[in-house]
């Protein structure tokens, strides 16, 4: 393991940290969105489409637009900078944002279709037993569609592991500080350092497999 990570020692820890934070975000937002989209709310079709959209744009283009929005001259970034003196670009939060945007649709959509498919009656049963929307979500919906949640999280976290384009722009690809494992692979490949790229890929593959099996185990509980 140590020999595998030798080419980019800090990147593994960074990737795992990002994945950890993003996993939590996906758990909360992915499930909430999936649930929301399965209920008959107004403008559902539009929301549905908007969530899926990040998927269809080249990541690097999304990264560019986010950079402009969150940069000093950007609408959001300017405000953040002025009022909070906080800068997103090049920070850890930027890496998280990048992964989050890339993976969210992959988490929310499978959850949505699972809830639509199999939880309707059970939601009604929970209501008659005195539970509110929130309790029903936690006590019934989530456990019932947990297979799909795991499938969604696997896809989302997987994508977040592999995401390069947005991360590159927002995170800055700063060696040792915002260089995630997949950015490191990307960099090594573009440098022509294929040995190192192969080793890092192996590492990424192993770590991902580990994560998948962990998630599957959780889904079976």
């Amino acid at each position: 393991m140590t020999s595998l990570v030798a080419c980019a020692p800090a990147s593994l820890a960074l990737s795992l940290q990002v994945a950890g934070v993003v996993l939590l975000l996906f758990l909360v937002c992915g499930i909430a969105l999936g649930y929301l989209l399965s209920q008959p709310i107004p403008l559902r079709g539009l929301l549905d489409a908007i969530i899926s959209l990040p998927l269809v744009f080249p990541p690097i283009a999304i990264g560019f637009f986010l950079l402009m929005a969150f940069g000093r001259h950007g609408a959001i970034g300017g405000w953040l900078h002025q009022t909070l003196d906080w800068e997103l670009v090049f920070s850890f939060q930027a890496l998280v944002l990048a992964s989050f945007v890339a993976g969210l649709p992959l988490v929310a959509k499978p959850i949505q279709s699972a809830i639509e498919g199999s939880a309707r009656d059970l939601i009604e049963a929970a209501y008659t037993l005195g539970k509110g929307r929130m309790e029903t979500l936690i006590l019934v919906v989530i456990p019932v569609v947990r297979r799909s949640i795991v499938a969604g999280l696997t896809l989302g976290v997987g994508r977040s592991f592999g995401e390069v384009g947005i991360t590159l722009m927002l995170g800055g690809n700063i060696i040792g500080s915002t260089e995630t494992l997949s950015l490191a692979i990307y960099n090594r490949v573009l440098d022509g350092d294929f040995d190192c790229a192969a080793k890092l890929s192996m590492l990424l593959g192993l770590v991902s497999l580990g994560l998948f099996f962990l998630l599957r185990r959780l889904g079976r509980l």
Binding site: E124, A125, T128, L129, G130, K131, G132, L139, P143, V144
Partner: protein
């Protein structure tokens, strides 16, 4: 003891429900009706799982629903114990946890769950998931879940249909006791007339989205009012009358004598109760016996009348039984013949009716 009062209009493609119903808080109200008449829909409306197009529901002096005033209490605030026809058990929870799901805070959960497990003979299955249960076991879990939540109103959709004879007897007794203690409005949808006879204090009969008859059990069974209701209540023999001659009804099937109320218009249909008619060697209704079945306590005779319409008769074990295929004459006592309308015009007893009160 708060009662439940509802006036509802609901429609969906090919189906309309339109009724007034009042359910007092003592005793059990059984709801019967042909398949698809709207029984489950009525329960769903009462529980708030379906919203009527017009209507009003009142529980005691609390208003649950008033379309005109835009009040619609959410299902969870109605505290209705609802047993679904297809159970809707939570597949990820064990039997014990399914039962515990609706328990109020402050209740000793473990004790309460144990109590219901025992009452419904589910103790050894407490840790199973619903997917590892048989049909009847699932049904009992659904019943326990609905009862355990200490509901203010109990709505049960065919709670005993999937259990065997002796367990069914036990469940009926258990259920009567449990409900007698609670003092809440209880609606029991069932197709089993023995259930109704044994546990129901009141009977409601729905036909085609309407409540055709509601009243004390004995009264409804004795005077079903119209032919459709009679058929639901186990009067198997309804015959159209073509002409009345004094108090003899005549049709293509033959003729029988009946007691007629002289002040009322003669009815278009009569029903012949299966218990009462006996084979006779004298005057009687000519029939052809097609089938004889030993039903344990009695023999069931399936006969054909002159116009080949069927007639079902129950003979006590003590009386002689004609052979299948033979012809016979049946003496039909007057009290076994009741007059019916094609469709009831008698007002329903809707127990303090909100529209007229």
């Amino acid at each position: 003891m708060p009662d439940l009062q509802a006036t509802l209009s609901f429609a969906r493609k090919d189906f309309a429900l339109d009724l007034d119903i009042g359910i007092p808080a003592d005793g059990i109200t059984a709801l019967l009706g042909p398949s698809g008449c709207g029984k489950s829909t009525l329960l769903r409306l009462l529980a708030g799982l379906e919203t009527p197009h017009q209507g009003h529901i009142r529980h005691g002096d609390r208003i649950w629903l008033d379309r005109a005033m835009d009040i619609n209490l959410a299902p969870r605030h109605r505290r209705v114990g609802f047993m679904f026809q297809d159970y809707a058990l939570f597949p990820h929870l064990s039997v014990a946890r399914n039962i515990a799901f609706g328990l109020r805070r402050g209740v000793d959960k473990a004790a309460c769950v144990r109590f219901w497990l025992d009452r419904l003979s589910l103790r050894p299955l407490a840790e199973r998931k619903p997917s590892a249960l048989s049909g009847g076991q699932r049904q009992r879990v659904a019943l326990a879940r609905a009862l355990a939540a200490e509901p203010q109103v109990l709505l049960l959709d065919e709670p005993f249909s999937a259990v065997d004879f002796s367990l069914r007897q036990e469940l009926r007794l258990m259920f009567q006791e449990a409900v007698a203690d609670a003092g809440i409005p209880v609606v029991l949808v069932t197709h089993d007339l023995e259930d109704v006879r044994q546990v129901a204090d009141r009977v409601g009969v729905m036909i085609d989205g309407q409540l055709r008859r509601l009243g004390p059990a004995e009264d409804v069974f004795a005077r079903p009012g119209d032919a459709e209701v009679a058929r639901v209540l186990g009067w198997p023999n309804t015959l159209a009358v073509q002409a009345w001659e004094r108090d003899t009804a005549r049709g293509a099937w033959g003729q029988v004598a009946a007691s007629l109320d002289p002040l009322m218009r003669p009815p278009e249909v009569i029903a012949i109760h299966p218990d009462g008619p006996t084979p006779t060697s004298g005057q009687g209704l000519p029939v052809e016996v097609t089938r004889v079945t030993d039903m344990g306590g009695y023999h069931a005779l399936l006969c054909r009348l002159a116009d080949r319409s069927p007639l079902r008769i129950h003979l006590p074990k003590s009386s002689p039984v004609p052979r299948p295929g033979s012809s016979a004459r049946l003496a039909i006592p007057r009290e076994c013949v009741i007059p019916l309308r094609e469709r009831s015009t008698a007002p329903n007893l809707t127990y303090p009716n909100p529209r007229h009160a």
